[in-house]
């Protein structure tokens, strides 16, 4: 189907691992802008935008909107009426833009203006709650029909949520005054990932570690997240590469 192809459904998963590896390797804040452009191309959407606000008010952002739109947004003070910001600030559930309240005159005028500047009519935003009250927002934006967008977001929601958080984890590393914090795994997570790396089945790992399979599932999910991985195979590769596990 054309819409799906344009939105990159078929090709996404394999390529995304590569983007995440490159994200992992980013060395400075300056590396994030080209990365967000690559992610946009990988997802096949018009725009991706990332923005964070620390508890002390410090901000950082990058994204693919037209700089003229960003300038206009700031000049007009749109932050106060943008339904996406109003609907996401200090929250933590992912949301399709159609769920926001666009009914006010100001919101409708804002959206018309945004579209003039190349912002698409569809959006999906992932608000992120990080450590110490950090708040960030990761948004995908595109122009397509409601049906195409629904297909895309339903199909990719899990990946979108994870990529949003991994992007945030990386951005946090570059926060002034905060050195790179290598992902560390607890001894139990190291045990679990090591046994998986050497080919044990989940049942065998659980049995060996004397834990239930549910407990193991949580350890693996937690380790995967800390390693910025989409799946267990990728997580094992990451853990090996970083020397967190040795087999």
């Amino acid at each position: 189907m054309k819409g799906e192809q344009a939105l990159g459904i078929a090709l996404l998963s394999s390529g995304l691992d590569e983007q995440l590896a490159r994200l992992e390797a980013a060395k400075s804040q300056d590396d994030l802008q080209p990365l967000i452009e690559e992610l946009r191309d990988q997802f096949g959407v018009d725009h991706i935008v990332y923005h964070w606000v620390a508890a002390d008010g410090e901000q950082f952002g990058c994204g693919t909107y037209d700089p003229a739109w960003v300038a206009r947004y700031l000049e007009r003070g749109y932050l106060r009426i943008d339904p996406v910001i109003v609907g996401c600030y200090q929250r933590f559930h992912p949301v399709d833009w159609k769920r926001f309240d666009w009914s006010s005159k100001a919101a409708r005028a804002f959206l018309r203006d945004a579209i003039e500047y190349g912002v698409g009519n569809q959006g999906f935003s992932v608000p992120i709650r990080g450590p110490n009250g950090q708040f960030a927002l990761f948004t995908l934006n595109h122009s397509c029909t409601d049906f195409e967008w629904q297909e895309f977001t339903e199909h990719h929601r899990r990946e979108l949520i994870l990529v949003a958080h991994y992007f945030n984890q990386k951005a946090l590393e570059f926060q002034p005054g905060r050195g790179p914090k290598p992902a560390t795994l607890s001894p139990r997570e190291v045990d679990a990932m090591t046994l998986i790396a050497v080919g044990y089945s989940r049942a065998q790992v659980a049995d060996t570690l004397s834990i239930s399979e549910s407990t193991l599932r949580v350890y693996i999910e937690s380790a995967r997240f800390k390693l910025g991985a989409l799946n267990t195979t990728h997580a094992v590769a990451q853990a090996l590469q970083r020397g967190l596990i040795v087999v």
Partner: protein, 212 residues
């Protein structure tokens, strides 16, 4: 009915909020004997209530609180990671796909089905927001209630004996569990879905109309 309210939205529901924090005091301090702090007006709040959690609340016909639970993402500060790491094998449970569920509370004389309604709402959150698991700390005496409504957690770790036993549990929500809990709550899944949609904004065509 079920309400989904961030802490920042509670001010618009003062009666509901007041009775929730009082019922929490009654459950956790008076009945369970936990060392929780009460404020001057007898309401129980902790540091996590100040971090804008999402409350899932069973509101009774008279507008008062009948039961509730408190949800937080495990990517931020959580009770389990801050205080109960020794019950999870020292593993810091942290994932965008796992949320923490704490302060599961029922009013003394609540409606039958309130507990199941809350669990059903938990399922809506999972399905609606791509959450794969809830983790939570709970008292031994809650196990009976969870079992009765068909939403027993998998226990990751426990400490203490008898009345003082505290566990960290994990909830998943299969379609079968969902059907079981819906039956136990006596709530039509369509109704449950409608409460969720009402709280988080129906998917409307308004944006499309502007864009056209």
């Amino acid at each position: 009915m079920i309400r989904y309210l961030y802490a920042s939205e509670l001010a618009r529901h003062p009666g509901l909020a007041r009775t929730m924090f009082r019922d929490r005091a009654d459950q956790f301090r008076t009945r369970l004997g936990w060392e929780v702090e009460l404020d001057a007006s007898g309401e129980e709040r902790d540091a996590y209530d100040a971090m804008n959690p999402l409350y899932v609340i069973w509101e009774r016909a008279d507008g008062s609180h009948g039961g509730s639970m408190r949800l937080m993402p495990t990517t931020g500060d959580t009770m389990i990671n801050d205080h109960f790491g020794h019950l999870t094998g020292g593993v810091r449970i942290e994932s965008a796909l796992i949320w923490e569920c704490t302060r599961f509370c029922l009013a003394r004389d609540t409606d039958p089905g309130a507990a199941a309604a809350l669990m059903l709402a938990g399922g809506e959150v999972m399905q609606g927001f791509g959450v794969e698991h809830f983790v939570g700390v709970f008292d031994a005496r809650m196990v009976r209630i969870y079992n009765r409504i068909g939403a027993a957690p998998e226990v990751l770790g426990s400490e203490g004996e008898g009345r003082a036993r505290i566990s960290v549990g994990l909830w998943s929500f299969s379609p079968e569990a969902r059907a079981r809990v819906a039956a136990s709550a006596g709530i039509d899944p369509v109704q449950s879905r409608a409460w969720f949609e009402a709280a988080f904004g129906p998917v409307g065509a308004r944006i499309a109309a502007v864009a056209a």
